[in-house]
Symmetry: C2
Subunit: 244 residues, 2 copies
Protein backbone atom coordinates (compact mmCIF):
# COMPACT_ATOMS: atom_id res chain seq x y z
CA UNK A 1 0.00 0.00 0.00
CA UNK A 2 1.19 3.51 -0.79
CA UNK A 3 2.36 5.37 2.29
CA UNK A 4 1.37 9.05 2.33
CA UNK A 5 3.36 11.99 3.69
CA UNK A 6 0.81 14.77 4.24
CA UNK A 7 1.96 18.29 5.15
CA UNK A 8 -0.20 20.17 7.66
CA UNK A 9 0.16 23.91 7.09
CA UNK A 10 -0.07 26.03 10.22
CA UNK A 11 -0.15 29.70 9.39
CA UNK A 12 0.15 30.96 12.92
CA UNK A 13 3.30 31.61 14.90
CA UNK A 14 2.98 29.17 17.81
CA UNK A 15 3.08 30.81 21.22
CA UNK A 16 3.22 29.75 24.81
CA UNK A 17 0.00 27.97 25.81
CA UNK A 18 -1.57 28.02 22.34
CA UNK A 19 -3.93 25.07 22.08
CA UNK A 20 -1.64 23.10 19.81
CA UNK A 21 -3.84 20.04 19.31
CA UNK A 22 -6.72 22.28 18.20
CA UNK A 23 -4.51 24.22 15.78
CA UNK A 24 -3.16 21.01 14.28
CA UNK A 25 -6.56 19.38 13.92
CA UNK A 26 -8.03 22.51 12.36
CA UNK A 27 -5.34 22.43 9.66
CA UNK A 28 -5.20 18.67 9.15
CA UNK A 29 -7.30 16.47 6.86
CA UNK A 30 -9.81 14.12 8.53
CA UNK A 31 -7.81 12.01 10.97
CA UNK A 32 -7.72 8.24 10.56
CA UNK A 33 -6.72 5.46 12.92
CA UNK A 34 -2.95 4.87 12.82
CA UNK A 35 -2.07 8.34 11.55
CA UNK A 36 1.41 9.26 12.72
CA UNK A 37 1.86 12.94 13.58
CA UNK A 38 5.42 14.19 13.19
CA UNK A 39 5.74 17.55 14.90
CA UNK A 40 8.75 19.86 14.70
CA UNK A 41 10.53 20.42 18.00
CA UNK A 42 10.45 24.14 17.33
CA UNK A 43 6.70 24.56 17.77
CA UNK A 44 6.64 22.30 20.82
CA UNK A 45 9.39 24.40 22.40
CA UNK A 46 7.55 27.62 21.62
CA UNK A 47 4.31 26.19 22.95
CA UNK A 48 6.03 25.15 26.18
CA UNK A 49 7.81 28.46 26.62
CA UNK A 50 11.20 26.86 26.05
CA UNK A 51 12.60 30.01 24.55
CA UNK A 52 15.16 32.43 25.95
CA UNK A 53 15.48 36.16 25.44
CA UNK A 54 19.23 36.39 24.91
CA UNK A 55 19.52 39.82 26.54
CA UNK A 56 18.58 38.24 29.86
CA UNK A 57 21.31 35.56 29.69
CA UNK A 58 24.44 36.23 31.76
CA UNK A 59 27.31 34.27 30.22
CA UNK A 60 29.69 32.39 32.50
CA UNK A 61 33.45 32.77 32.11
CA UNK A 62 33.55 29.41 30.30
CA UNK A 63 30.87 30.57 27.87
CA UNK A 64 32.77 33.81 27.23
CA UNK A 65 35.96 31.84 26.59
CA UNK A 66 34.37 29.37 24.18
CA UNK A 67 32.50 32.17 22.42
CA UNK A 68 35.62 34.24 21.86
CA UNK A 69 37.56 31.21 20.60
CA UNK A 70 34.83 30.44 18.04
CA UNK A 71 33.44 33.92 17.29
CA UNK A 72 30.10 32.97 18.77
CA UNK A 73 27.57 34.89 20.85
CA UNK A 74 28.54 34.20 24.48
CA UNK A 75 24.89 34.34 25.53
CA UNK A 76 24.05 31.57 23.05
CA UNK A 77 27.02 29.54 24.30
CA UNK A 78 25.77 29.99 27.86
CA UNK A 79 22.33 28.75 26.81
CA UNK A 80 24.03 25.73 25.21
CA UNK A 81 26.06 24.96 28.34
CA UNK A 82 22.99 25.24 30.54
CA UNK A 83 21.35 22.46 28.48
CA UNK A 84 24.45 20.28 28.46
CA UNK A 85 25.37 17.20 30.49
CA UNK A 86 28.85 16.92 28.93
CA UNK A 87 30.75 18.15 25.91
CA UNK A 88 31.49 15.33 23.44
CA UNK A 89 33.56 17.26 20.86
CA UNK A 90 34.45 20.90 20.41
CA UNK A 91 36.39 21.73 17.26
CA UNK A 92 36.26 23.99 14.19
CA UNK A 93 33.58 26.10 15.87
CA UNK A 94 31.32 23.09 16.29
CA UNK A 95 30.10 22.17 19.76
CA UNK A 96 28.75 18.62 20.03
CA UNK A 97 27.27 17.84 23.42
CA UNK A 98 25.24 15.29 25.25
CA UNK A 99 22.11 17.04 26.45
CA UNK A 100 20.56 16.47 29.85
CA UNK A 101 18.14 14.10 28.07
CA UNK A 102 21.03 12.09 26.62
CA UNK A 103 20.81 13.31 23.02
CA UNK A 104 24.13 13.81 21.24
CA UNK A 105 23.78 16.85 19.00
CA UNK A 106 25.27 20.18 18.02
CA UNK A 107 24.64 23.14 20.33
CA UNK A 108 22.43 21.10 22.67
CA UNK A 109 19.59 21.89 20.27
CA UNK A 110 19.74 25.61 21.10
CA UNK A 111 18.67 27.31 17.88
CA UNK A 112 18.20 30.88 16.70
CA UNK A 113 16.51 29.98 13.41
CA UNK A 114 12.75 30.33 12.87
CA UNK A 115 12.32 32.38 16.03
CA UNK A 116 12.05 36.14 16.63
CA UNK A 117 15.37 38.00 16.47
CA UNK A 118 17.13 38.14 19.83
CA UNK A 119 15.64 34.87 21.04
CA UNK A 120 16.73 31.23 20.89
CA UNK A 121 14.70 28.08 21.36
CA UNK A 122 15.72 25.26 23.68
CA UNK A 123 14.66 21.64 23.29
CA UNK A 124 11.51 20.66 25.20
CA UNK A 125 12.33 19.66 28.80
CA UNK A 126 10.88 16.18 28.34
CA UNK A 127 10.02 15.53 24.69
CA UNK A 128 8.56 12.08 25.39
CA UNK A 129 6.09 13.66 27.79
CA UNK A 130 5.33 16.41 25.25
CA UNK A 131 4.59 13.73 22.64
CA UNK A 132 2.42 11.76 25.07
CA UNK A 133 0.41 14.84 26.03
CA UNK A 134 -0.23 15.81 22.40
CA UNK A 135 -1.15 12.25 21.47
CA UNK A 136 -3.68 12.02 24.29
CA UNK A 137 -5.23 15.33 23.25
CA UNK A 138 -5.47 14.34 19.60
CA UNK A 139 -6.86 10.91 20.47
CA UNK A 140 -9.42 12.35 22.85
CA UNK A 141 -10.58 14.98 20.38
CA UNK A 142 -10.80 12.64 17.38
CA UNK A 143 -11.50 9.24 18.92
CA UNK A 144 -8.73 7.87 16.74
CA UNK A 145 -5.68 5.89 17.76
CA UNK A 146 -2.66 7.91 16.63
CA UNK A 147 1.06 8.16 17.30
CA UNK A 148 3.10 11.33 17.85
CA UNK A 149 6.76 11.90 17.13
CA UNK A 150 8.66 15.08 17.92
CA UNK A 151 11.45 15.65 15.43
CA UNK A 152 14.58 17.72 15.29
CA UNK A 153 17.25 18.18 12.64
CA UNK A 154 20.64 16.67 13.50
CA UNK A 155 23.99 16.42 11.80
CA UNK A 156 25.68 13.04 11.68
CA UNK A 157 29.17 11.66 12.11
CA UNK A 158 30.85 10.67 8.81
CA UNK A 159 28.14 12.03 6.53
CA UNK A 160 27.44 15.51 5.22
CA UNK A 161 24.21 17.30 5.86
CA UNK A 162 21.51 16.81 8.43
CA UNK A 163 18.49 14.56 8.70
CA UNK A 164 15.49 14.70 11.00
CA UNK A 165 15.40 12.32 13.96
CA UNK A 166 12.95 11.61 16.77
CA UNK A 167 13.52 13.25 20.14
CA UNK A 168 10.05 12.49 21.51
CA UNK A 169 7.92 9.39 20.93
CA UNK A 170 4.43 8.34 21.99
CA UNK A 171 2.16 5.55 20.84
CA UNK A 172 4.63 3.76 18.60
CA UNK A 173 7.61 1.50 19.13
CA UNK A 174 10.51 3.61 17.82
CA UNK A 175 12.57 0.56 16.89
CA UNK A 176 11.51 -2.18 14.48
CA UNK A 177 13.48 -5.19 15.55
CA UNK A 178 13.99 -7.89 12.93
CA UNK A 179 16.53 -9.84 14.98
CA UNK A 180 15.48 -13.46 15.10
CA UNK A 181 13.10 -13.02 12.17
CA UNK A 182 13.73 -14.78 8.88
CA UNK A 183 14.98 -13.09 5.70
CA UNK A 184 13.59 -13.95 2.24
CA UNK A 185 15.84 -17.06 2.23
CA UNK A 186 14.68 -18.27 5.65
CA UNK A 187 17.97 -17.24 7.31
CA UNK A 188 17.80 -15.60 10.69
CA UNK A 189 18.51 -11.84 10.67
CA UNK A 190 21.15 -11.09 13.27
CA UNK A 191 21.56 -7.32 13.53
CA UNK A 192 18.71 -5.57 11.77
CA UNK A 193 16.89 -3.28 14.16
CA UNK A 194 15.47 -0.36 12.21
CA UNK A 195 15.34 3.07 13.86
CA UNK A 196 11.79 3.42 12.61
CA UNK A 197 10.99 6.66 14.44
CA UNK A 198 14.03 8.35 12.90
CA UNK A 199 13.04 7.13 9.43
CA UNK A 200 9.52 8.46 9.94
CA UNK A 201 10.93 11.85 10.99
CA UNK A 202 13.25 11.88 7.97
CA UNK A 203 10.30 11.06 5.71
CA UNK A 204 8.23 13.82 7.30
CA UNK A 205 11.01 16.35 6.82
CA UNK A 206 10.59 15.93 3.05
CA UNK A 207 7.18 17.59 3.36
CA UNK A 208 8.25 20.17 5.93
CA UNK A 209 11.03 22.19 4.46
CA UNK A 210 12.83 24.76 6.55
CA UNK A 211 11.40 27.87 5.01
CA UNK A 212 7.81 26.71 4.74
CA UNK A 213 5.13 26.74 7.38
CA UNK A 214 4.58 23.01 7.62
CA UNK A 215 5.72 22.22 11.15
CA UNK A 216 3.47 19.17 11.30
CA UNK A 217 3.27 16.23 8.92
CA UNK A 218 0.98 13.22 9.00
CA UNK A 219 2.28 9.87 7.80
CA UNK A 220 -0.61 7.69 6.76
CA UNK A 221 -0.98 4.03 5.77
CA UNK A 222 2.10 2.93 7.66
CA UNK A 223 1.34 -0.11 9.77
CA UNK A 224 3.16 0.15 13.08
CA UNK A 225 3.59 -1.56 16.39
CA UNK A 226 1.86 0.60 18.97
CA UNK A 227 3.59 -1.02 21.92
CA UNK A 228 5.10 1.39 24.41
CA UNK A 229 8.40 3.00 23.69
CA UNK A 230 10.09 6.33 24.16
CA UNK A 231 12.78 8.29 22.37
CA UNK A 232 15.13 7.22 25.16
CA UNK A 233 15.38 3.79 23.53
CA UNK A 234 16.91 5.46 20.45
CA UNK A 235 19.87 6.64 22.49
CA UNK A 236 22.84 4.29 22.30
CA UNK A 237 24.16 3.54 25.78
CA UNK A 238 27.76 4.60 26.45
CA UNK A 239 29.02 1.04 26.70
CA UNK A 240 27.66 0.19 23.24
CA UNK A 241 28.83 3.40 21.58
CA UNK A 242 32.16 3.41 19.75
CA UNK A 243 32.32 7.14 18.98
CA UNK A 244 31.38 9.21 22.04
CA UNK B 1 0.95 18.21 -1.87
CA UNK B 2 0.96 14.69 -0.42
CA UNK B 3 4.19 12.84 -1.13
CA UNK B 4 3.72 9.16 -1.96
CA UNK B 5 5.94 6.23 -1.04
CA UNK B 6 5.03 3.45 -3.45
CA UNK B 7 6.44 -0.07 -2.98
CA UNK B 8 7.37 -1.94 -6.15
CA UNK B 9 7.12 -5.69 -5.52
CA UNK B 10 9.63 -7.80 -7.42
CA UNK B 11 8.92 -11.48 -7.01
CA UNK B 12 12.05 -12.71 -8.70
CA UNK B 13 15.42 -13.36 -7.11
CA UNK B 14 17.67 -10.92 -8.98
CA UNK B 15 20.58 -12.56 -10.75
CA UNK B 16 23.68 -11.47 -12.59
CA UNK B 17 22.74 -9.73 -15.83
CA UNK B 18 18.98 -9.76 -15.25
CA UNK B 19 17.45 -6.83 -17.13
CA UNK B 20 16.79 -4.86 -13.96
CA UNK B 21 15.14 -1.82 -15.56
CA UNK B 22 12.66 -4.08 -17.35
CA UNK B 23 11.86 -6.01 -14.17
CA UNK B 24 11.31 -2.79 -12.23
CA UNK B 25 9.13 -1.18 -14.89
CA UNK B 26 7.04 -4.34 -15.26
CA UNK B 27 6.27 -4.26 -11.53
CA UNK B 28 5.88 -0.47 -11.16
CA UNK B 29 2.81 1.70 -11.68
CA UNK B 30 2.83 4.04 -14.70
CA UNK B 31 5.94 6.17 -14.37
CA UNK B 32 5.63 9.95 -14.08
CA UNK B 33 8.14 12.74 -14.52
CA UNK B 34 10.11 13.33 -11.32
CA UNK B 35 9.55 9.88 -9.88
CA UNK B 36 12.44 8.98 -7.58
CA UNK B 37 13.42 5.30 -7.66
CA UNK B 38 15.04 4.08 -4.46
CA UNK B 39 16.67 0.72 -5.11
CA UNK B 40 18.16 -1.56 -2.48
CA UNK B 41 21.89 -2.11 -2.78
CA UNK B 42 21.32 -5.83 -2.46
CA UNK B 43 19.64 -6.27 -5.85
CA UNK B 44 22.15 -4.00 -7.58
CA UNK B 45 24.99 -6.07 -6.12
CA UNK B 46 23.36 -9.30 -7.22
CA UNK B 47 22.70 -7.89 -10.68
CA UNK B 48 26.33 -6.83 -11.00
CA UNK B 49 27.69 -10.15 -9.74
CA UNK B 50 29.06 -8.54 -6.58
CA UNK B 51 28.58 -11.69 -4.60
CA UNK B 52 31.16 -14.07 -3.20
CA UNK B 53 30.95 -17.79 -2.64
CA UNK B 54 32.55 -18.01 0.78
CA UNK B 55 34.10 -21.45 0.14
CA UNK B 56 36.35 -19.84 -2.47
CA UNK B 57 37.68 -17.17 -0.08
CA UNK B 58 41.11 -17.80 1.41
CA UNK B 59 41.38 -15.82 4.65
CA UNK B 60 44.58 -13.92 5.41
CA UNK B 61 46.29 -14.30 8.76
CA UNK B 62 44.81 -10.94 9.83
CA UNK B 63 41.33 -12.13 8.91
CA UNK B 64 41.85 -15.36 10.87
CA UNK B 65 43.03 -13.34 13.88
CA UNK B 66 40.12 -10.92 13.86
CA UNK B 67 37.65 -13.72 13.25
CA UNK B 68 38.91 -15.78 16.19
CA UNK B 69 38.87 -12.73 18.49
CA UNK B 70 35.25 -12.00 17.60
CA UNK B 71 33.91 -15.49 16.86
CA UNK B 72 33.30 -14.56 13.24
CA UNK B 73 33.68 -16.49 9.99
CA UNK B 74 37.23 -15.79 8.84
CA UNK B 75 36.13 -15.93 5.18
CA UNK B 76 33.59 -13.18 5.83
CA UNK B 77 36.23 -11.12 7.63
CA UNK B 78 38.54 -11.58 4.63
CA UNK B 79 35.77 -10.35 2.33
CA UNK B 80 35.33 -7.32 4.60
CA UNK B 81 39.07 -6.53 4.61
CA UNK B 82 39.24 -6.82 0.83
CA UNK B 83 36.59 -4.05 0.57
CA UNK B 84 38.27 -1.85 3.18
CA UNK B 85 40.45 1.23 2.82
CA UNK B 86 41.01 1.52 6.58
CA UNK B 87 39.54 0.30 9.85
CA UNK B 88 37.85 3.11 11.81
CA UNK B 89 36.83 1.19 14.96
CA UNK B 90 36.99 -2.46 15.97
CA UNK B 91 35.39 -3.29 19.31
CA UNK B 92 32.76 -5.55 20.89
CA UNK B 93 32.73 -7.67 17.73
CA UNK B 94 31.82 -4.67 15.60
CA UNK B 95 34.05 -3.75 12.67
CA UNK B 96 33.52 -0.20 11.38
CA UNK B 97 35.55 0.58 8.29
CA UNK B 98 35.96 3.12 5.58
CA UNK B 99 35.27 1.35 2.30
CA UNK B 100 37.26 1.93 -0.85
CA UNK B 101 34.45 4.28 -1.91
CA UNK B 102 34.79 6.31 1.29
CA UNK B 103 31.65 5.07 3.08
CA UNK B 104 31.98 4.59 6.83
CA UNK B 105 29.95 1.54 7.77
CA UNK B 106 29.96 -1.79 9.56
CA UNK B 107 31.57 -4.75 7.80
CA UNK B 108 32.29 -2.71 4.66
CA UNK B 109 28.75 -3.53 3.56
CA UNK B 110 29.55 -7.24 3.26
CA UNK B 111 26.29 -8.97 4.11
CA UNK B 112 25.06 -12.54 4.38
CA UNK B 113 21.38 -11.65 4.74
CA UNK B 114 18.89 -12.03 1.91
CA UNK B 115 21.30 -14.08 -0.18
CA UNK B 116 21.68 -17.84 -0.72
CA UNK B 117 23.35 -19.67 2.16
CA UNK B 118 27.15 -19.80 1.84
CA UNK B 119 27.32 -16.53 -0.10
CA UNK B 120 27.77 -12.88 0.88
CA UNK B 121 27.05 -9.74 -1.10
CA UNK B 122 29.53 -6.91 -1.52
CA UNK B 123 28.60 -3.29 -2.20
CA UNK B 124 28.48 -2.32 -5.90
CA UNK B 125 31.93 -1.32 -7.17
CA UNK B 126 30.73 2.16 -8.15
CA UNK B 127 27.19 2.79 -6.87
CA UNK B 128 26.95 6.24 -8.50
CA UNK B 129 27.63 4.63 -11.87
CA UNK B 130 25.11 1.90 -11.09
CA UNK B 131 22.50 4.56 -10.32
CA UNK B 132 23.34 6.52 -13.47
CA UNK B 133 23.06 3.43 -15.66
CA UNK B 134 19.69 2.44 -14.22
CA UNK B 135 18.38 6.00 -14.48
CA UNK B 136 19.36 6.21 -18.14
CA UNK B 137 17.67 2.90 -18.87
CA UNK B 138 14.45 3.88 -17.09
CA UNK B 139 14.43 7.31 -18.74
CA UNK B 140 15.03 5.84 -22.18
CA UNK B 141 12.34 3.20 -21.81
CA UNK B 142 9.70 5.55 -20.36
CA UNK B 143 10.58 8.94 -21.83
CA UNK B 144 10.26 10.32 -18.29
CA UNK B 145 12.77 12.30 -16.30
CA UNK B 146 13.48 10.32 -13.15
CA UNK B 147 16.07 10.09 -10.39
CA UNK B 148 17.66 6.94 -8.98
CA UNK B 149 19.06 6.38 -5.50
CA UNK B 150 20.78 3.21 -4.33
CA UNK B 151 20.21 2.65 -0.63
CA UNK B 152 21.82 0.60 2.07
CA UNK B 153 21.06 0.14 5.76
CA UNK B 154 23.61 1.69 8.13
CA UNK B 155 24.04 1.95 11.88
CA UNK B 156 24.82 5.35 13.35
CA UNK B 157 27.06 6.75 16.03
CA UNK B 158 25.20 7.73 19.23
CA UNK B 159 21.83 6.35 18.20
CA UNK B 160 20.37 2.85 18.34
CA UNK B 161 19.15 1.04 15.29
CA UNK B 162 19.84 1.53 11.63
CA UNK B 163 18.41 3.77 8.94
CA UNK B 164 18.70 3.62 5.18
CA UNK B 165 21.11 6.01 3.48
CA UNK B 166 22.12 6.72 -0.11
CA UNK B 167 25.26 5.08 -1.46
CA UNK B 168 24.53 5.84 -5.13
CA UNK B 169 22.85 8.91 -6.60
CA UNK B 170 21.84 9.95 -10.11
CA UNK B 171 19.61 12.74 -11.41
CA UNK B 172 19.08 14.53 -8.11
CA UNK B 173 21.14 16.81 -5.91
CA UNK B 174 21.64 14.69 -2.76
CA UNK B 175 21.95 17.76 -0.54
CA UNK B 176 19.35 20.48 -0.12
CA UNK B 177 21.30 23.51 0.94
CA UNK B 178 19.38 26.21 2.78
CA UNK B 179 22.48 28.17 3.79
CA UNK B 180 21.97 31.80 2.83
CA UNK B 181 18.22 31.32 2.42
CA UNK B 182 15.80 33.08 4.74
CA UNK B 183 13.82 31.40 7.52
CA UNK B 184 10.16 32.23 8.24
CA UNK B 185 11.35 35.35 10.12
CA UNK B 186 13.59 36.58 7.29
CA UNK B 187 16.77 35.56 9.13
CA UNK B 188 19.53 33.93 7.15
CA UNK B 189 19.91 30.19 7.77
CA UNK B 190 23.54 29.43 8.57
CA UNK B 191 24.01 25.69 8.79
CA UNK B 192 20.99 23.92 7.37
CA UNK B 193 22.01 21.61 4.57
CA UNK B 194 19.61 18.68 4.45
CA UNK B 195 20.93 15.25 3.45
CA UNK B 196 17.97 14.88 1.17
CA UNK B 197 19.08 11.64 -0.50
CA UNK B 198 19.45 9.98 2.90
CA UNK B 199 16.00 11.17 3.96
CA UNK B 200 14.52 9.82 0.72
CA UNK B 201 16.19 6.44 1.33
CA UNK B 202 14.92 6.42 4.94
CA UNK B 203 11.41 7.21 3.69
CA UNK B 204 11.64 4.45 1.10
CA UNK B 205 12.77 1.93 3.70
CA UNK B 206 9.38 2.33 5.40
CA UNK B 207 7.79 0.65 2.38
CA UNK B 208 10.52 -1.91 1.87
CA UNK B 209 10.82 -3.95 5.01
CA UNK B 210 13.58 -6.49 5.37
CA UNK B 211 11.52 -9.60 5.05
CA UNK B 212 9.32 -8.45 2.17
CA UNK B 213 10.08 -8.50 -1.51
CA UNK B 214 9.96 -4.77 -2.11
CA UNK B 215 13.55 -3.96 -3.07
CA UNK B 216 12.41 -0.94 -5.07
CA UNK B 217 10.29 2.00 -3.94
CA UNK B 218 9.09 5.00 -5.92
CA UNK B 219 8.79 8.36 -4.18
CA UNK B 220 6.31 10.53 -6.05
CA UNK B 221 5.25 14.19 -5.82
CA UNK B 222 8.51 15.30 -4.27
CA UNK B 223 9.87 18.34 -6.08
CA UNK B 224 13.64 18.09 -6.36
CA UNK B 225 16.64 19.81 -7.81
CA UNK B 226 17.88 17.65 -10.66
CA UNK B 227 21.28 19.29 -10.82
CA UNK B 228 24.20 16.91 -10.90
CA UNK B 229 25.41 15.32 -7.73
CA UNK B 230 26.74 11.99 -6.55
CA UNK B 231 26.72 10.04 -3.31
CA UNK B 232 30.33 11.14 -2.88
CA UNK B 233 29.06 14.57 -1.79
CA UNK B 234 27.33 12.90 1.18
CA UNK B 235 30.67 11.73 2.55
CA UNK B 236 32.11 14.10 5.14
CA UNK B 237 35.75 14.88 4.33
CA UNK B 238 38.28 13.83 6.98
CA UNK B 239 39.15 17.41 7.89
CA UNK B 240 35.50 18.23 8.65
CA UNK B 241 34.79 15.03 10.55
CA UNK B 242 35.05 15.03 14.34
CA UNK B 243 34.53 11.31 14.89
CA UNK B 244 36.58 9.23 12.45
Amino acid sequence: MTIEIIPVPINKEIENDDKLADLILKAAPKIQDNDIFVVSQKIISKNEGRIVFLDTVIPSLLAVGIASEYQKDSRVVEAILSETKRIIRMKNGIIIVETKNGLVCANAGVDESNVVNGFATLLPKNPDESAEKLRNEISNKTGKKVAVLISDTFGRAFRMGQTDAAIGVSGINPLLDYRGKKDTFGKELKVTNIALADELCAAAELAKGKTLKHPVVIIRNYKFDESKGTAKSLIRPDDEDLFK
